[in-house]
């Protein structure tokens, strides 16, 4: 073996020649072939892979859409009509991209729920979780700017309302908004820069997803029991076990996506966006896409501009600090009798907020919005730290391979540290 060459185990001489100089094959084999993965994953563990595939499909369809799209305030709307009517398969590419944004958010929201329920954000995966929140923020920015591009009524007024959020910043707010617009209102300069950024951000997402996965491969995956892997008896090689499990989920997911594309392509969209942008007339209801509704509801439920905007940003901010808000040492909700009720309640709360965001703010809707907003923050800032203190977790299993629970020595508390268990799993 010559000095300076990687010691490759690849047999094929050509591949070996490459691998000794650039060990990509060895790396893929290590990270995605033999990679030891907990043997007890359920289908919630499909969603990271689904998100990765969705991201790739979005980038591909987006690049081809851009070949026929014109980012000019006078031509954008008709160039989208041109894609829909004249470009070969333009309708298909656009509908895949359009519904793909919704699919992306469904997948990532379920992915986040998985993390919340099974405690994947806790030690040692805090940074992995925070990178996930960064991805979520980048996704939101990308989806928002993408929605502006067809330059319909909702594109225009959505852009107006969201960019104006920054006018809530004291003193410099108005200058920041004009800087974002490149003018005194949303207009052609705004459309141009949004197109540029909508093209750029997905590639930043690819970069952060890469870091997210690198961090995952340092700590290893969590699992439905939330206890650490103790040895080889607890794991399976990623390939073929989880490549196959992920493929099953992927087939179902792509079928659902296709069903939207071919049978109800406009179900998730707003019909008002098929009216060209009119800067002189605000539509009767300015409503964002469904995946932003809960956040929009939080914004609207406070009758004070600065506070409403601050709360909306804080609703994502609390996710960043969640690893330090949760005081319970037990990861999986399976062993947390109280928190396992609170997490699904949070989902109900988010649906309630979604309902509020989609309806006119009057009467009952206003009240529901305030209660649901309060619950959202109470969940993270009060219930999560408190429940961790007083909740008695169920006894944890000894290991993933032996999910049999030893009789607790006394009382109903968690089992004390055994010979194999590390403190983390049973404190």
């Amino acid at each position: 073996m010559a000095a300076g060459l990687f010691k490759s185990e690849v047999k094929n001489p050509v591949l070996r020649w490459v691998d000794t100089r650039l060990p990509l094959i060895t790396m893929m084999q290590k990270e995605y072939g033999s990679f030891p993965t907990p043997r007890n994953f359920n289908y919630f563990w499909n969603f990271g892979a689904l998100a990765t595939v969705t991201l790739m499909i979005m980038i591909m369809t987006g690049v081809f859409l851009a070949m026929n799209y014109t980012p000019n305030a006078n031509m954008a709307f008709s160039s989208v009509q041109h894609i829909m009517r004249d470009v070969n398969y333009g309708w298909l590419i656009r509908y895949v991209h359009m519904n793909g944004a919704s699919m992306f958010f469904i997948v990532v929201y379920i992915h986040i729920f998985r993390g919340l329920y099974y405690g994947s954000y806790k030690f040692p995966r805090e940074l992995l979780w925070m990178l996930g929140v960064v991805i979520l923020l980048l996704m939101m920015a990308t989806a928002f700017m993408g929605y502006v591009l067809p330059w319909g009524q909702m594109s225009f007024w959505g852009a107006t309302v969201i960019t104006n959020l920054f006018s809530a910043i004291p003193v410099v707010g108005q200058s920041i908004v004009q800087w974002l617009w490149g003018g005194f209102s949303v207009g052609n300069p705004t459309l141009n820069r949004f197109f540029s950024l909508h093209y750029l951000l997905p590639f930043l997402i690819v970069g952060v997803v890469f870091l997210h996965v690198v961090a995952l491969h340092i700590t290893g995956s969590n699992n439905p029991l939330g206890i650490d892997v103790k040895g080889p008896q607890d794991t399976l090689p990623f390939h073929p076990y989880y490549t196959v499990k992920d493929s099953v989920g992927l087939c179902v997911f792509l079928l659902i996506w296709a069903a939207f594309v071919f049978f109800m392509p406009n179900l998730l969209g707003d019909t008002i966006n098929s009216i060209p942008a009119n800067p002189l007339q605000t539509p009767a209801d300015v409503v964002p896409e469904w995946y932003f509704l809960p956040f929009y509801a939080i914004l609207r439920s406070v009758p004070n501009k600065v506070l409403g905007v601050a709360l909306m940003f804080a609703s994502i901010g609390v996710l960043f600090v969640l690893p330090w808000l949760d005081t319970s040492p037990v990861r999986s909700c399976r062993f947390r009798p109280i928190y396992r009720i609170l997490v699904p309640l949070l989902v109900v709360d988010l649906f309630a907020l979604g309902y509020v965001g989609a309806h006119h703010p009057q009467g009952f809707v206003v009240l529901l919005g305030r209660v649901a907003t309060a619950w959202y923050f109470l969940h993270f800032l009060v219930f999560t730290p408190l429940v961790g203190w007083f909740e008695t977790p169920l006894p944890l299993p000894e290991s993933i391979a032996k999910p049999i629970v030893r009789k607790p020595h006394s009382g109903g508390g968690p089992i004390p540290g055994g010979a194999v268990a590390k403190p983390m799993e049973n404190a």
Binding site: W157, T282, K305
Partner: protein
């Protein structure tokens, strides 16, 4: 280099503390230079996103008031923004003038929002001070809210007949554009 840095300043190594601070200075100086350089490169990029000269070029608009009937208003464009010009009824003027300033979210007298002798004309930038929607209320058939001025459909802000905010979430009164009366029936905005 790392070794030298680690030992610098130790009494036995032969380098005094003065030597260490000299090294620190040598590191800080190019660092500061790099920060200034990065800023100098970043600023043209950032500033390129601000409104460009053609957008800034101040256009003015003249508006003929004759077609506006009492009790209704029109919307004209100025600098890409909608401007409301409304012909107020005597009742509306009285309501706007009589309200106690302490009741207002942003206290301002009606007289400060119209031109002397032209109290029947209110000219406003028609952009909700909450998040920038265009409030309804120019047509008498539009929803005008509880105070008879304008109602914003986006998040329910309400303005009175002087364009002052009376119900949140909007924090401020509708802005006034610069304008002047050319004669009784003609104004120039800008």
């Amino acid at each position: 280099m790392a070794d030298t840095l680690a030992t610098a300043g130790h009494a036995g190594s032969g380098h005094g503390p003065a030597d260490k601070s000299k090294r620190d200075f040598l590191v800080m100086l190019p660092l500061a230079g790099a920060v200034v350089g990065a800023g100098a490169i970043a600023w043209p990029l950032i500033d390129s996103m601000n409104p460009s000269s053609d957008v800034l070029a101040l256009a003015s608009t003249e508006v003929d008031l004759t077609p506006i009937s009492e009790g209704s208003g029109i919307t004209v464009m100025w600098r890409g923004k909608p401007i409301f010009v409304r012909y107020r009824t005597a009742k509306e003027i009285k309501e706007a003038e009589d309200v106690k300033l302490s009741e207002l979210i942003e206290p301002q007298a009606d007289s400060a929002r119209v031109k002397p002798g032209h109290a029947q004309w209110i000219v406003l930038i028609g952009i909700c001070t909450h998040l920038g929607c265009i409030p309804l209320g120019n047509k008498p058939t539009d929803p005008r809210g509880e105070w008879g001025g304008w109602f914003c459909p986006c998040h329910g802000s309400q303005y009175d007949t002087s364009g002052r905010v009376r119900h949140g979430p909007a924090p401020l009164n509708l802005y006034l554009p610069p304008y002047a009366f050319l004669n009784d029936k003609r104004i120039k905005i800008g």
